[in-house]
């Protein structure tokens, strides 16, 4: 399983005349073990716990390589940090993000995927990828929010204009 991914990474490195190093092995290992969306800093802390000498820059560099190799997917939830998730056992998916607790849930809706394709076709675009993030309140936070009184919703002027 992991060895499969490692082989792919080694192949990628070899093709580019790059080398497999202890650091790259370790960082990839730790990255693959974690599910979810990891920031470079979070990954760095995990790595440092195992190998205190590894530098932040190396983690950034490896993440970039993994992205290039197609092994990691970069996402940006607008927090000011990029996040990465490995593709092992992770097919494409969209996100349902709770604006209160910040937790994200991965979802896929085939019907939407097809309509996206159609939409692109309609405008003559060839679609290569997409991102869809739905923001709202998760069931748990919804309940809490109701108790705390109605949320002071962000002003939406669209109706007024």
């Amino acid at each position: 399983m992991n060895s499969q991914v490692k082989e792919i990474f080694e192949g990628f490195l070899a093709e580019k005349g790059l080398k497999m190093t202890r650091q790259r092995q370790l960082i990839l290992d730790i990255f693959l073990k974690k599910e979810g969306h990891l920031s470079p800093e979070e990954l760095y802390l995990l790595v440092r716990a195992k190998a205190p000498a590894v530098g932040r820059a190396t983690v950034y560099r490896v993440l970039k390589l993994l992205k290039e190799a197609g092994l990691a997917h970069e996402v940006d939830f607008g927090e000011g940090v990029l996040r990465y998730e490995h593709k092992y056992g992770h097919a494409h998916h969209d996100h349902l993000i709770c604006m209160r607790c910040g937790r994200t849930r991965e979802v896929v809706d085939e019907a939407i995927e097809q309509l996206q394709q159609k939409l692109a076709d309609r405008y003559g675009y060839s679609l290569t990828s997409h991102r869809m993030d739905l923001y709202g309140l998760c069931p748990a936070c919804r309940r809490k929010a109701e108790k705390a009184g109605p949320p002071q919703a962000g002003v939406d002027i669209s109706a007024r204009l």
Copy 2:
């Protein structure tokens, strides 16, 4: 038209005990005149052309206020800069982004909007907003790309895992 938006902004400021200033007027004016997705720097340059004394920081501060007031929408295409578009005459829309020339086209698909709502419902989420960006090649770039030979597609390992 613009005056309507200005009134809203003034109302927003008043409610918060903030003041309407020359700079805020000017920045809002210029912001409203421009269609499309403006970065703070771009807006700053436009503003500076009219009022050289205005500082970058003020532009950033006003954009943040406009966002809070619900008059500006913040988007992030992953370029390392945030972009803002005013909501005047701009209902909600998604983006079709060309990965070659970078141009974006605004689209809306009612069927997709409805399915997004359903998708959220299915998981018990109350949806407040979403972002959907479709990446691909626009018709023009598609033609150019064909002449230049097949694109060396990014490795997609998902099938192999």
